[in-house]
Symmetry: C2
């Protein structure tokens, strides 16, 4: 759970933001069809970036951290303690975000620490299914019909969000 960046190269980054609602394009418009979107209500936006060295094991740690860390203000206005998105319970929107792996060099960003696209795509698919399984295993999230929605790997992430405070957190693995 703890950041491992101090012990070696960072293998993955998650950026977490609270939202009231969010909408993400999963298929751009074509000549024949309109663009397709997924939407969530109150919950957690998870930006995901895999870097060289990330494995299935990394994915497991990432999902556990993202869903169990207490980052969300409780629904109960008298409670001051933060709760996890599973405890809230809230929806989850997963957005692939390769740019999060960038390193500045001069005025440009370089992405040579990022994982190869095919490997990243596999880990991303795993990340999404593990989140789905975890939400489904949570009684509270399941009973209240909370959903995992996910962006398409490699797409432009066309989206909008509305929040009462993103409480942006960075987790490194």
């Amino acid at each position: 759970m703890a950041s491992e960046s101090a012990n070696g190269a960072v293998k993955a980054r998650l950026l977490l933001q609270q939202c009231l609602s969010a909408r993400l394009q999963v298929e751009p418009a074509s000549e024949l069809e309109e663009a397709k979107y997924v939407e969530i209500g109150k919950g957690l936006i998870i930006y995901v970036c895999f870097m060289k060295g990330a494995t299935e094991e990394t994915v497991e740690k990432m999902v556990k951290s993202a869903l169990n860390t207490c980052l969300s203000p409780s629904q109960d206005p008298s409670a001051t303690k933060r709760v996890s998105v599973l405890e809230l319970p809230g929806d989850v929107l997963i957005i692939p975000q390769a740019t999060l792996g960038g390193t500045p060099k001069g005025k440009a960003m370089q992405y040579h620490k990022n994982i190869a696209k095919d490997e990243g795509e596999k880990l991303y698919a795993n990340f999404v299914s593990l989140c789905e399984v975890s939400l489904h295993m949570s009684e509270k999230a399941r009973e209240q019909g909370k959903q995992v929605r996910a962006g398409t790997y490699g797409n432009l992430q066309v989206f909008r969000t509305d929040t009462n405070g993103p409480y942006t957190h960075l987790l490194e693995f």
Copy 2:
């Protein structure tokens, strides 16, 4: 300009996202008045977090990086090279985001690396004025009436954004 995290403790973090538009609350509603907001059009959202050890010098480096790094898709659709927000030119929305300094411990986040609130408030004010000066010094940004808007330090950051691809980047100083 390069990340200095490898050479010692991180003193500040910037999170940068492209937007088509964004709106941020700068004063919550009271019994007498409605909430107040600032808005920007196409441009850059800058989330700012100062950690222990951040100084005026850190602020100068941060502003230089944020405004000059080439992160924005060009307005010219035939151009493949990214441009800086000054070259675009675009608006700038600055959002204080202390949570970005958090470190996970068990299921909670700890913020003991964050700078003291009064020091952070001063550096934040400097960051905002330096951005304003830089936009004003840029002929292109000035001529096209581009604006810097900034959130209130310590507030809940109630906001919404719309983007054709956030291209989220993390810069550490």
